[in-house]
């Protein structure tokens, strides 16, 4: 009994921030700057992976604007879905059906815009893309909600429900067009997938970058002002400024680097520009979509009741129920949100491919789950961040991209990704055990 008292008093001074700054360890430094240590660790790991590939690839082509631009586009589809998968896994569930749902929703969106809409609206109608996208989002959300109801209200384990879903939705996807490929996509819709036309150009990329910086600073100021109003301890000014400078510097640096990826000469000439002009591609629309999704999902996860409940359920389902949370409804909403994101990812994917095929998204569920897990999401529930999952997706895609550049054969790529997955989780488990033990 007495040891509770002792531990109470002995722990308190540790949490006190008033110690002189010379005595601080790196960990304390991070803590006093209120930086997420795990996220910082992942950024370091990613930097190491990038540098190793830069050295290892022939002609050192990894860290080129062209490769990183492609990497950003290739990552976006998995990243969009990984943000939803985090919340599912945080809730101690799983969704194995995301690849199959992607196929079904993708096929229906494809058929809808190539067969149905041209007959009703006319060919290449300016609203075709929006109506098709809306259909995909609604359909994805409905499928997610349906699976969520079986999980939450009927009580069938999510693993089983979505494993069944994986087979069912994939089979139905085949039925939509009897296995045929649907192509091409509407010209506006295709922009969702990126490419030369589906990028916003150098100038607008700078606009996005500067807006993001202003957003970061505004967010810092708002938080600071609010904490000051309640008289809470503020993050040290040096840390606040350093954080702002690093964040904005990273954003603007990334824009600068990616803007050095120029449109192919053929397209430049087709646009009537003098040959040899360097025209930046700028950020691809799917990348913007993924970034937007990450911001919105982070907001939902951390600043909304729904997100709070997702984490509470993951931490202690019984406590959440006893606190009066409608836990079943929250689970249904989470699966529905996952479905909505799958619908969005399906739109990006068929737009990128300029075709809908019933094999769309095969094995995608594994990439999405791996991204979330590499990003620090724990299967024991309650732990995981949106930013981590997006970084996890970048790590996965970086490995694949780097190995492709090195000419590593596909089966060996899988071996490496699998090993990295297990190592990442092992490291995380060890670090966490040490932190709590």
């Amino acid at each position: 009994m007495a040891e509770t008292d002792i531990s109470t008093t002995s722990r308190v001074p540790d949490a006190r921030p008033e110690r002189p700054s010379e005595q601080r360890s790196v960990r304390d430094l991070l803590r006093s700057a209120e930086i997420d240590g795990r996220l910082a660790g992942m950024l370091v790991a990613l930097a190491i992976i990038w540098i190793v590939f830069q050295i290892a690839t022939p002609n050192h082509t990894f860290l080129t604007p062209r490769n990183l631009w492609n990497l950003s586009v290739q990552t976006s589809v998995v990243a969009i879905m990984a943000t939803g998968m985090v919340l599912i896994i945080v809730e101690r569930h799983i969704d194995l059906s995301v690849g199959a749902v992607m196929a079904l929703v993708g096929m229906i969106m494809g058929a809808f815009q190539s067969d149905f809409l041209p007959e009703t609206l006319g060919f290449d109608h300016p609203l075709t893309w929006a109506i098709t996208l809306a259909l995909g989002l609604v359909l994805g959300a409905a499928i997610g909600a349906f699976q969520g109801v079986i999980v939450a209200y009927v009580g069938v384990p999510a693993f089983i429900v979505t494993l069944g879903g994986l087979l069912v939705w994939r089979g139905l996807a085949w039925r939509v067009a009897s296995g045929q490929t649907i192509a091409p996509m509407d010209s506006n819709f295709r922009l969702l997938g990126g490419g030369a036309d589906g990028s916003i150009g150098g100038m607008w990329s700078w606009v996005v970058g500067i807006a993001a910086c202003l957003g970061i600073v505004a967010l810092q100021l708002t938080k600071r002002r609010q904490r000051a109003r309640y008289g809470f301890r503020l993050r040290p000014v040096w840390a606040e400024i350093a954080l702002g400078v690093v964040a904005c510097g990273t954003v603007l640096g990334a824009i600068w680097f990616l803007n050095r990826y120029y449109l192919p000469a053929g397209i430049v000439e087709a646009r009537g520009l003098p040959p040899g002009t360097n025209v930046s591609q700028g950020l691809a629309i799917p990348v913007l979509i993924a970034l937007g999704v990450a911001v919105v999902m982070t907001f939902i996860a951390t600043r909304r009741r729904f997100g709070r409940y997702v984490y509470a359920i993951g931490g202690n389902p019984e406590a959440a129920e006893l606190a009066g949370i409608r836990t079943k409804m929250t689970v249904v909403k989470t699966f529905s949100l996952m479905g909505l994101l799958v619908g969005l990812a399906a739109a990006v994917q068929i737009a990128r491919l300029n075709a809908a095929v019933s094999s769309l998204g095969t094995n995608m569920e594994l990439n999405v789950i791996a991204a979330a897990v590499i990003g620090g999401t724990s299967f024991t529930g309650g732990v995981g961040t949106i930013a981590g999952a997006v970084l996890g997706a970048v790590v996965m895609q970086s490995l694949v991209s780097g190995m492709v550049l090195m000419g590593v054969e596909a089966p060996l790529q899988d071996v490496v990704v699998g090993v990295v997955l297990v190592i990442a989780v092992t490291l995380d488990t060890v670090v966490r055990r040490r932190a709590t033990g």
Binding site: T4, T8, R11, A312, L322, A323, G381
Partner: protein, 261 residues
């Protein structure tokens, strides 16, 4: 002290709860007045916690009635109970370990801004104020509660129950995880809450705790109510006889008392 002729604050009438074929709670009737502490005792598996969970909305009764201010009420979920002013400190504490103390305090009743976003600063501020009264040593407001000591976790659970102006408080072994100093703090708190006119059901294994705090003691054995006695009318031995043998004070012989010791 308490006017027991008046209408009770809560009455649990003929409550039955069965799990499979086992009657965890079998036709139990207890009541509670404003400003009164009723102790619930009994051995392991006597049905105390199950009985109380029907009042907190954690597990609805199979049959029986719950009356508040003499009016029948339906309590089917923890939400219903909270709306009726019933707050519970569970033996397990029922905290989500992965989120911080303010988040647990306000779980299900978050303070929000006018845009519907979580108002974290306001929640932290309130939590700091409450903790300043309940447990002045409490410092970890932004760490997951899994990093707190047993006593600190307990104070979060207690703070949550007393913050929302409960009329009826259920405390299931509130001092189980506490050291002597913290136990005394909780005892003082219980006395203070009773002064404020709150009715308290107190479940405890510690018979001395109960004699110290309770006005009346209800004893359960194997799902049935043995009886309810005024603390001042009975001895510790008589209550022990109720707990162990299921005999009311009038039925206890000298030989029974001898056997207890």
């Amino acid at each position: 002290m308490t006017d027991r002729t008046a209408v009770p604050l809560v009455e649990l009438r003929n409550i039955r709860v069965a799990f499979g074929g086992v009657h965890a709670v079998d036709d139990v009737t207890v009541d509670l007045h404003p400003g009164e502490v009723v102790g619930l005792v009994g051995g392991n598996g006597a049905g105390k916690t199950t009985l109380i969970r029907t009042l907190s909305g954690a597990h609805p009764a199979d049959s029986g009635q719950i009356l508040i201010d003499d009016q029948p009420v339906t309590i089917e979920s923890p939400r219903d109970a909270k709306e009726l002013g019933i707050e519970t400190i569970y033996q397990t504490l029922a905290l989500a370990d992965n989120i911080d103390a303010p988040a647990n305090m306000f779980l299900g009743r978050e303070l929000i801004t006018r845009f519907g976003n979580l108002n974290s600063s306001a929640m932290e501020d309130s939590t700091r104020k409450i903790m300043g009264r309940l447990n002045p040593n409490f410092e970890k407001f932004v760490a997951p509660v899994s990093t707190l000591s047993g006593g600190q976790r307990q104070s979060v659970a207690i703070a949550r129950a007393v913050h929302f102006n409960a009329r009826i408080l259920i405390m299931d072994e509130p001092t189980a995880a506490l050291g002597p100093a913290e136990t005394n703090q909780v005892r003082d708190l219980i006395r203070q809450l009773r002064e404020e006119g709150i009715g308290i059901f107190l479940i405890s294994h510690d018979i001395h705790d109960l004699f110290d705090l309770a006005d009346r003691i209800s004893v359960m054995l194997q799902g049935k109510l043995v009886g309810t006695v005024n603390k001042d009318d009975v001895t510790v031995d008589q209550v022990l006889a109720m707990i162990i043998m299921g005999k009311k004070p009038g039925e206890v012989t000298q030989q029974d008392i001898a056997e207890l010791h």
